[in-house]
């Protein structure tokens, strides 16, 4: 923001004002969730009635809600770990080795990020049905692996792009094999990227709705539970409270992740967006 004050040209100032307006456009709607979550009224409307933490207490005491929260964590943690491992290896392969057909393979891995979620969701539903598996948290987790792995690969590619190959070669020439070289040289140096990938893929899985919507069995994840509550206006305030907590948690996780992701590559300025 500080640069706004420095620029004196009217055109630049106009662009600066636009940028601030854009940020408001991005943030304002989301900020109404916490605002109304503290409002002492079952109606989500102005004028505000008064301050209360009642909805947070209600949300906390709702067993089904807490259970679905636990379910989301149960899915998100393994998904984050597995997809980050897959994504890191894939990114390493893409950055390090000359391979024929690399570009189409990368596009294929990135596909889950663009193919409409609903189509992926029903396609998975069909195949899981055909194989005869029961819908469960496991099927949700499996569905989350593809987009999370694609994201992880993307994050790790931007991390590995600035990686000095000769460091690994030095380790090899000093007698360490590929595996120990990874643990002693590569891993410590890309650790910030790995932490970022873990946090972001966890957030992605934790907040994912459409795949879980088709693939959830008897145990709903948190977004599925919230979706079921959105139809009942009386249930809205606790959902708002819950949503605010999730937003805050996601913001914190993502902020830490981005901080890690850009640490070290920061000097390249544009590096790894």
């Amino acid at each position: 923001m500080s640069s706004l004050a420095i620029s004196t040209k009217p055109k630049v100032r106009l662009l600066g004002i636009y940028a601030v307006a854009y940020l408001i456009f991005i943030y304002a709607p989301v900020l109404f969730l916490p605002l109304f979550s503290f409002n002492d009224s079952t109606f989500i409307a102005f004028p505000l009635k008064g301050f209360t933490t009642q909805w947070y207490v209600e949300a906390y005491q709702n067993e089904r809600l807490i259970q679905s929260l636990m379910n989301s964590i149960k899915v998100g943690v393994p998904v984050a770990i597995v997809s980050t491992i897959f994504g890191t290896f894939a990114a390493k392969a893409v950055i390090r080795y000359r391979m024929p057909g690399k570009a189409p393979l990368v596009s294929f891995i990135m596909a889950p990020l663009v193919v409409p979620g609903i189509i992926v969701g029903i396609a998975l539903l069909v195949i899981i049905n055909a194989v005869g598996l029961d819908l469960s948290l496991f099927t949700i987790g499996f569905a989350h692996l593809a987009p999370c792995t694609a994201f992880s690969m993307w994050i790790m590619i931007s991390r590995l792009e600035g990686f000095d190959q000769s460091l690994e070669e030095a380790s090899l020439s000093l007698g360490e094999g590929a595996w120990m070289t990874f643990w002693r040289v590569t891993f410590p140096l890309i650790l910030p990227g790995i932490i970022a990938s873990l946090l972001l893929t966890f957030t992605l899985s934790f907040d994912e709705f459409i795949l879980a919507f088709f693939l959830a069995g008897q145990e709903p994840t948190l977004p599925i539970y919230m979706w079921s509550q959105l139809r009942f206006p009386a249930q809205l305030p606790p959902v708002l409270a819950l949503g605010s907590v999730i937003l805050l948690a996601s913001f914190v996780l993502v902020y830490i992740a981005e901080w890690f992701r850009r640490r070290g590559t920061h000097s390249q300025e544009s590096g790894g967006v």
Partner: protein, 377 residues
């Protein structure tokens, strides 16, 4: 392959897709030798070094180190150490951890480990640097740490990829001497890649001159300089004057040649034999030509005019015109006395003379050319 070859590179080629980086190179390197790969960038010298390290694998051919074929040996199982061009100091480790990196598998007690690292730091004259971070080191210090790290397990061969390129001139010259002294004291075979001919000449026992993926000549520095085998080597190492000539007579290790404007000359036949009637190049280094104002007594002499002169302090460079030659001839002379330099406006007729052993005969390739390198370099 020589029987005593410690490293034997046998008809090794390497292609990256359609680019042929190294083309059927064969070199034998003896144990304990300081061997340099010299050539311009892109000549394949670094690729060859990386193949010795196992960081690249030959497309064809075989590399044998100490009797073992290397084609199925991973880099971490080769008896080689390597110093990288950018030193590749691990940024997340301190100096002690960097130097002791390869000792992990020995599971030494801490005191022993520290002692070994301290010993290496003594060797590279950086005692007490153990706890420095990688970022706190200067260029020269990084170079030494990389050296210590590569040497701590005493590899049979140390590979160095332009390790002095990043240092400034003074430090580079100092490190050249230090490296050479270190190599002599520990007796490990060094394979050294450089594009700097002076560096290669100063340090090496033998040098392979490379261009476009091939070796042009493998010889000692003196032989490379005094007896280049072909025009490219003569041209790449130092400065040299070429004259078209035809062989008239061959007798008892000497040839009589007709060098046009220089007249009939006698030149020694050294590494190559030429037959009477063959077209050759007569090459003379600038410092082997002597300038004088009066007609000298030497048999090999020619009248010339001074064209341009450059004063360089310890010596002067002259370009001299000889009647019947379209290109000037380069001459370099030591300024032994204050009055020696011809640069203060002196011009006009002079004499050039040279000892008959100063002429090197090379296979002819048509037109002669003036020196390719500016003398000032």
């Amino acid at each position: 392959m020589q029987d005593d070859a410690f490293i034997s590179i046998q008809e090794v080629s390497k292609s990256f897709g359609s680019v042929h980086a190294v083309k059927s190179v064969s070199i034998d390197i003896a144990r304990g030798e300081f061997f340099s790969l010299l050539g311009p960038s892109g000549c394949g010298k670094t690729t060859l070094l990386r193949m010795l390290a196992g960081l690249e694998y030959p497309t064809a051919g075989e590399i044998i180190i100490d009797g073992q074929p290397m084609s199925a040996v991973a880099p971490n199982r080769r008896p080689v150490g390597m110093v990288f061009q950018n030193y590749a100091i691990f940024p997340h480790l301190n100096v002690r951890q960097n130097i002791g990196y390869s000792l992990r598998r020995d599971r030494l007690p801490k005191a022993k480990f520290n002692a070994k690292v301290a010993e290496m730091l003594e060797l590279i004259r950086l005692p007490g640097y153990e706890m420095r971070g990688a970022h706190e080191l200067s260029g020269g210090e990084r170079q030494r740490v990389a050296l210590a790290r590569a040497l701590i397990r005493r590899p049979k061969v140390l590979l160095l990829d332009e390790p002095l390129g990043a240092l400034d001139k003074k430090l580079r010259e100092q490190m050249q001497l230090e490296l050479r002294a270190l190599q002599r004291s520990i007796g490990i075979t060094f394979v050294f890649v450089t594009h700097d001919q002076e560096e290669a000449l100063t340090m090496s026992d033998r040098i392979a001159v490379m261009a476009k993926g091939r070796t042009l000549q493998v010889d000692s520095p003196t032989e490379l300089y005094e007896m280049p085998q072909n025009r490219d080597v003569a041209d790449f190492i130092g400065t040299i004057n070429f004259f078209d000539a035809g062989v008239r007579e061959v007798d008892d290790g000497r040839a009589v040649i007709d060098a046009g404007a220089l007249g009939m000359l006698s030149a020694p036949l050294r590494k190559q034999d030429f037959a009477s009637g063959e077209q050759v190049l007569a090459a003379i280094r600038p410092e082997k030509l002597v300038i004088s104002f009066e007609e000298p007594a030497a048999t090999n002499r020619v009248k010339a005019t001074l064209d341009t002169a450059a004063y360089l302090g310890d010596r002067s460079h002259y370009y001299v015109r000889i009647g019947g030659l379209d290109r000037p001839v380069a001459v370099s002379a030591q300024n032994l006395h204050q009055a020696d330099s011809l640069t203060d406006g002196a011009s006009g007729d002079i004499w050039l003379s040279w000892a008959s052993d100063a002429v090197v005969l090379l296979p002819g390739d048509g037109a002669a050319a003036s020196p390719q390198h500016a003398l000032a370099s």
